[in-house]
């Protein structure tokens, strides 16, 4: 058995008041210390180049969509969040999506659709905020998903960089 002898408090310590004053001094000093809280909507979350936000569809400068509605992303999606319907077009790429829906409540932001896409049409943007008043409103349709290439450029550059790395390592 271990007996720990308690230290006898001195009269000064038993008064408690000096300790109380000391405590008050500490809390007052902390009042003027820098604060940790991030004022979220005004101070956005810092993004890195690896940040995977919600998937978006790239639209070329001439307002044509890159997607050919091949359905690969639909097949790759592990959460079954993507629904595509395509139709013929007289443009060179022959097909384009008629209906392209991503259920943002199902999307797990994994980025498989981006990897699967053979036409560099779908990219994980840096958009992360997701809030609405109904579930239906969070099923994003074609219009909500379209983004000009310029808005996605950062991500496109990053993906190209990663893909280049794989290519050089396989060729050597």
């Amino acid at each position: 058995m271990v007996v720990v002898a308690r230290k006898e408090l001195s009269f000064w310590e038993r008064l408690y008041l000096p300790a109380v004053v000391k405590g008050l001094r500490i809390t007052m000093a902390k009042m003027f210390a820098p604060r940790f809280t991030r004022q979220y909507p005004e101070e956005p979350i810092p993004m890195t180049e690896t940040t995977r936000g919600q998937p978006r569809l790239a639209v070329n400068e001439d307002d044509t969509i890159r997607c050919v509605s091949c359905g690969l992303c639909e097949a790759a999606c592990p959460a079954y969040a993507i629904t595509i319907d395509g139709h013929e077009t007289d443009r060179l790429i022959e097909r384009e999506p008629e209906q392209f829906e991503i259920d943002m409540l199902r999307c797990i932001l994994c980025g498989f659709c981006e990897e699967a896409c053979p036409k560099h049409a779908i990219y994980m943007s840096q958009e992360l905020e997701l809030a609405d008043f109904s579930r239906q409103a969070l099923v994003y349709d074609l219009e909500k998903l379209k983004r000009p290439v310029s808005a996605l450029q950062e991500r496109i550059d990053y993906v190209n960089k990663i893909n280049d790395r794989w290519q050089t390592s396989s060729s050597t």
Binding site: L17, V20, G23, L24, I26, T27, M28, K30, M31, F32, A33, P34, R35, F36, T37, Q39
Partner: protein, 339 residues
């Protein structure tokens, strides 16, 4: 007729001032505690979150009122009123400013009423406040609430005694129960009672914390042990009433500390200051003690219950007795007054 109007105006301003201060205290509480914990506190409603108390009040009004089964309905409804009302009643004699002016030969003082027994009235009325906690705890038909109410009453009895004895020393020094005269007795260099009665001040301050159920003596609420203590079962505006009562009592206590020990509305080294300067000085001093209430709350942990009783009966009470004995001896030997 005009006298009634003046009196009405003074009443309105005094009550409005105290209630608004009490409301702002709920905001200050959160703001200061947030700052002490590296946070910001409420800052979304209005500039600097200033309308937060208003929003809180609105929220309380629209909440559902729940009366637990088996509760004594009359007492359950009466308890919040009994908490808030005494605190508000004691505002009536607080001297906020000196002589504002004269009306038909009568001096208009900066308080709603100016009875000869001012301090006695405050102590008597604020003593009723405890009934709210006890009745609320008992009428709720809940174990936690009952325990909270019991603790509140035990605590109140232990501490009110020392509180009154501390005040008595001040009263003996001044020779008057009138709050305006107590303030007037603190004129001059080091005239504040805190210099002649430092022990009484300390006792009063500690007991004031216990009296208002504030940390480190908030046994009536005591979240980790009793859920929320005597107001566990309360909801909606009835719950808010308890809070209004608590915060108003806090403001009143801060006013009393200022009045009894820190020269009330007197400005140091400026004897003939106009009344509004005195009012500002009073607000300034009171604000400091209000800040101290919050400051202490977020610094000290809660006492254990037996420690509370030990402190009350074995430390504060004998000290208060010694203090009053010494004061009495001093006065009888060297004549009245410390000035």
């Amino acid at each position: 007729m005009q006298l009634i109007l003046i009196w009405l105006l003074v009443t309105l301003v005094c009550y409005g001032g105290v209630i608004v201060t009490a409301a702002l205290m709920t905001l200050a509480e959160r703001k200061v505690s947030a700052a002490m914990q590296y946070r910001y506190g409420p800052n979304r409603v209005g500039p600097f979150g200033l309308f937060q108390p208003l929003a809180d009040g609105l929220k309380f009004m629209f909440k559902e009122e729940v009366v637990p089964t088996g509760a004594n309905r009359l007492m359950f409804r009466l308890a919040p009123v009994l908490t808030a009302l005494p605190a508000m009643l004691s505002i009536a004699v607080i001297p906020f400013a000196g002589e504002i002016g004269t009306y038909e030969g009568n001096a208009v003082m900066g308080s709603i009423a100016n009875p000869e027994i001012g301090i006695l009235y405050v102590l008597a009325v604020s003593g009723i406040g405890i009934y709210g906690a006890i009745l609320g705890g008992w009428a709720s038909n809940s174990k936690y609430a009952l325990l909270g109410g019991l603790r509140a009453s035990a605590q109140m009895i232990s501490y009110e005694l020392s509180l009154i004895l501390a005040v008595l020393a001040v009263v003996a020094m001044t020779g008057s129960l009138n709050l305006h005269e107590i303030v007037a007795g603190q004129q001059g260099w080091l005239g504040w009672n805190v210099f002649s009665q430092p022990l009484a001040f300390l006792l009063f301050l500690i007991c004031a914390y216990a009296e208002t159920n504030r940390h480190p003596f908030d046994f009536a609420e005591c979240e980790p042990e009793l859920v929320a203590g005597f107001h566990t079962e309360y909801s909606s505006m009835k719950f808010a009433m308890f809070f209004i009562g608590e915060y108003t009592a806090m403001v009143v206590m801060a006013c009393l500390v200022t009045t009894l020990f820190f020269g009330g509305y007197l400005v140091p080294f400026w004897t003939d200051a106009p009344w509004w300067i005195g009012l500002i000085a009073f607000c300034f001093k009171t604000s400091f003690f209000l800040l101290l209430f919050i400051w202490v709350r977020w610094t000290l942990p809660r006492f254990r219950y037996d420690q509370l009783m030990h402190l009350g009966w074995k430390v504060l009470f004998p000290l208060a007795l010694v203090n009053i004995f010494l004061t009495g001896a001093f006065i009888s030997l060297f004549g009245s007054g410390g000035n």
